[in-house]
Symmetry: C2
Subunit: 130 residues, 2 copies
């Protein structure tokens, strides 16, 4: 069965291959929860491959009719405000028959920020009195 | 009452001042939950201020005896493996009387990765059948 839906986890990328390990773990978590109807891929802005147009093209070739891009960025600057919209426009132009959605970056989600805060608090639990 | 404990949220930094808004929201969440015995500061690797040594020096001057650095990085490459340990060593050398702890980056925490996965799944909920 080919996937009808796609998720692309979009990250910055880095020189060190190990940089992407948390993204790979996240993709694995999603694959376990989404089932075979959803393809989960990684894509990177720079320094790593595939880039976003390549990841989108692969999901499109695999049969995905709707692709959701999730920017896995906590900080929200020029990469998200300028580079990403340009890339998304390019992908949409290349695949006019496919719905390509780009959701807000993880750093804008209240539940994600709350999980980050809880992580900090757990780390502080070792040193501060309750 | 001066803070006895410090948390420094350490991020990459960027040119766009708005980049740091999620970090500021995270700091605000932590301040609300920690109370007055804990100072919460931001620090950046590059392109934004303060840098880590400045943030640590300010918390030390404010009376913090134990300071916990939380690397707010999802990807874990050279900045975390090389740049951060060198900065932490510098901070410890500058403040030998203060306990400076550096915890693992947020991208290594299972609960944070789970929150990221849940965010993706919520975003997919709009398009995929359940």
């Amino acid at each position: 069965m080919s996937a009808r839906y796609g998720i692309v986890l979009f990250g910055h990328g880095a020189r060190d291959a190990r940089w992407a390990e948390p993204f790979e773990r996240l993709a694995k978590l999603l694959r376990a929860q989404c089932g075979p109807s959803t393809a989960v891929s990684l894509a990177f802005l720079e320094l790593m491959s595939p880039d976003l147009p390549t990841a989108i093209a692969e999901q499109a070739a695999g049969g995905c009719a709707t692709i959701t891009i999730v920017p896995v960025f906590v900080g929200i600057g020029g990469h998200i405000r300028r580079d990403l919209p340009a890339l998304v426009d390019r992908c949409r132009a290349a695949h006019p028959g496919i719905e390509i959605r780009c959701v807000k970056p993880v750093g804008e989600d209240d539940a994600v920020l709350d999980a980050l805060a809880q992580y900090c608090l757990r780390q502080m639990g070792d040193v501060t009195p309750r």
